[in-house]
């Protein structure tokens, strides 16, 4: 459907409902829209005090499912409407949201008004209009995979499998921890917090998922573990080998053997991100005054003899992987008042714009996440601090 026609349909729908966008934000929860596609995950528990609090009113329904035909559904059961932003929540609740492993929900930690405790909440990506529900009464942060969350417990991290409800302690010292998506291995690194995260010597430890046979893998200055590789045996990490020179390296670390292989290096190398297929890493190098051509965003292959041939991107901005070697990015330097989404294809070296400024996106705090199937992104909007969703063209 062309945009103009869609606007007419939308206006008619809003008129029929007797609401406008600004008014919607102050409305109490409304009946949920009819379910389309697979049902959203059922809430596991509600916090004491009952159902969804009033501070989580139902978001507006900008698209009437019965009046619009989806244009496709690549890899997902829900219908997709590329280029049409949709508000998921109201009330400004949801910084740092992440997708559930099945891509059905956006998860976030929140404590709405009148709720006695903070909990893990989820809002369905589809259908529109559903208010958020409590997914887990415990507020945890994702731990390497959407399947797992971790929350602090003294010298331990309590790992929770959101699918089974199983929970167990890991002897991490309360440090950041990642679990392999298959739940077999764990890695944590002993940051002490504060400046020491950047400036200190950081030890990286590995074990099985239950903390048996913990062992030191390596120590790097200013180290961070990024994620597990798809082989679920190695992790991608960054850090600098020397305290006295700011040359950082991106390395793979074998959790079982401790073998370390350098993938790329650069001055102040940071912001490393592994592609979903594990073949590529995107990263940022910066502040090299002697070699300004070395500053920028790069994509390097993980395997093979091409480690020494990272490719420099021709954009400066925020980036996330979509699927395979498709890197989504939001340019930082633009005269547009609103943000755009572009896609770089690592295999071909070409870029194409997926979402233009007409969509009205304004991302707050670089807070945006790509759905597991790569079909959609959700972002925290800079104007209303609510969670929004937009489906992407294939």
């Amino acid at each position: 459907m062309r945009l103009g026609a869609f606007l007419i349909v939308l206006a008619a729908a809003l008129t029929a409902w007797g609401i406008g966008r600004d008014r919607v934000r102050s409305l109490a929860p409304s009946p949920t829209a009819p379910a389309v596609g697979r049902a959203a995950a059922q809430p596991l528990a509600l916090p004491p005090g009952g159902a969804a609090p009033a501070a989580h009113p139902a978001p507006p329904r900008p698209e009437g499912p019965s009046s619009l035909a989806p244009v496709g559904s690549a890899g997902t059961d829900r219908p997709l409407f590329p280029g049409r932003p949709r508000q998921l929540v109201s009330g400004g609740c949801c910084t740092g949201a992440w997708w559930s492993s099945d891509g059905e929900q956006l998860l976030f930690v929140d404590r709405p008004a009148d709720s006695p405790i903070a909990a893990l909440w989820g809002v369905a990506a589809w259908p529109p209009g559903r208010p958020p529900e409590v997914v887990d009464a415990n507020a945890g942060a994702p731990a390497g995979s959407p399947r797992f969350t971790a929350r602090p417990a003294g010298d331990f991290s309590l790992i929770r499998n959101l699918e089974s409800g199983e929970e167990w302690p890991l002897p991490t010292g309360g440090d950041p921890v990642l679990l392999s998506p298959d739940g077999q291995r764990a890695v944590w690194w002993d940051v002490s917090g504060g400046r020491a995260d950047v400036d200190g010597l950081i030890s990286i430890h590995g074990s099985d998922a239950f903390g048996r046979s913990p062992h030191l893998l390596t120590a790097l200055w200013g180290a961070t573990v990024v994620s597990f590789l798809p082989d679920q045996r190695r992790v991608l990490a960054i850090g600098r080998p020397l305290d006295t020179f700011p040359l950082y390296a991106a390395v793979t670390l074998d959790v079982d053997s401790g073998e370390m292989v350098e993938i790329a290096s650069g001055l102040w190398l940071a912001e490393a991100l592994l592609s979903p297929d594990g073949r590529w890493v995107a990263y940022l190098t910066s502040l090299d005054r002697s070699h300004p051509e070395r500053n920028g965003i790069w994509v390097a292959p993980i395997e093979g003899a091409a480690h020494d041939t990272p490719r420099k991107m021709d954009f400066v901005g925020a980036y996330r992987w979509r699927r395979g070697g498709q890197l989504l990015y939001v340019p930082m330097s633009t005269s547009d008042a609103t943000d755009s989404i572009w896609q770089y294809d690592a295999a071909t070296g070409t870029s194409v714009r997926l979402v233009g400024p007409e969509a009205g996106m304004r991302i707050a705090g670089n807070d945006w996440v790509v759905s597991p199937d790569g079909a959609s992104i959700a972002w925290l909007d800079a104007a209303d601090r609510n969670l929004w969703l937009i489906d992407l063209p294939r």
């Binding site: 400004g92 602090p152 504060g194 995260d197 502040l287």
Partner: protein, 233 residues
Amino acid sequence: MRSAARAWAAAGALAVATSTALSPAPAAPAEAKPFGLPFAEPPGPATWYMAQSYGNTVYAYFERGTLYRSGQGMHMGLDLATACGTVIVAIGDGVVRSVDGPGGAPPHNLAIDHPEGYVSFYGHLLERPALAPGQPVRRGDPIALSGDMYATCNASPHLHLEIRDASMGSAYNPVEFIDADWNRLLLLGASRQDFVRDLDAPRRWQALDDQPPIQFGGPLLNDYARSWPQAGD
């Protein structure tokens, strides 16, 4: 100089006319903010970028009892990553208040009084600025060179920039005073802006422009009973 950030902010005023009912509400046009950015160059990997924001940051939380104790546990300013030796410019017209005066942020610092009643404070400077108290400066004038807190330039070189009141006893969120498109400035890399979360009030102080003022010497604002990440030892 018309910085890129100022250009973005000006462009923001056009957003209302171009948005539709389908789109998120555009950002409100920035109210007049008295100050400009402290660099002449546009942001980017080769020049400068945001490294740590003001307020309830994870870094400050971990060091709330040490490095940031005097600022109620909060980060008292903005950390703007930039190579050692980068020229810093005055963010507004004013008069030099002190050179290597009180306020910390070693190895060198500079404070400028502004007619609006505020003080801009520049820390972790590479060398002692060649300015004298009482000397007038104009917005955009080169005033110092950026360094790092260890005076080695081997670890996290950056400018630490604060906005304080005339008594120097309070600090405010520079984002509220400096005319720039701050959310756009954060669009670099793969990480979202991260604030520590008080699990008893997880919505509080989670946005760049939603941070508390700081009273130096006051009680901790972030001594959370339950937090994410959890309290450091």
